[in-house]
Subunit: 83 residues, 2 copies
Amino acid sequence: MLSKKITWEMEEKELFVRVGEKIRELRNVKSVSQLELAERCDFEKSNMSRIEAGRTNLTLRSLNKISRALGVTVAELVDVEQL
Amino acid sequence: MLSKKITWEMEEKELFVRVGEKIRELRNVKSVSQLELAERCDFEKSNMSRIEAGRTNLTLRSLNKISRALGVTVAELVDVEQL
DNA sequence: CTTAAAGTTATCATATATGATAACCAAAGC
DNA sequence: GCTTTGGTTATCATATATGATAACTTTAAG
């Protein structure tokens, strides 16, 4: 059986991905397009795409912008299952 | 009466400060020194001081390290009053 | 007093988030 | 077919988080 050792990089990557999914989820619930959310946050749409794909190590500043654009708290944005 | 307009920079700064205070609070509850926490996170102690003072725009990676070092979730770390 | 432990602040280097731009894809409607 | 809307991916520049190091303060203990 192959090893299932989980490195902190993997676990961190999982966190990024889950937060990205959470953002997309909340965005969809509010029926906001990615472009619209990007504009509300004053982000490039390409940046928004990277974020939702979990390819970014988000900063508190960005999380704050997104949370306000979606009408939720920062804590809600990062409230995901953790390994 | 002087203006009380709150800019997003002020509100962002407040968020940074409150998250820093939250970290310090949780660290003190667990009776961990700043140096000890810095070592657990593999941070410089000077970095840890900046963070608790709210002079840093923390990343998800750093929040994740700190949350694990303190035995709480990332969501708990950023669960602060927001303006 | 001296010593040490805990924390602060400043400076410089490096890594990377984000801005800026562009090319591209897919689906829907014409 | 063409066009639009929504999204993805790549590249380069810039701003900044963090690493690394050092000097400094403060507090408590001796």
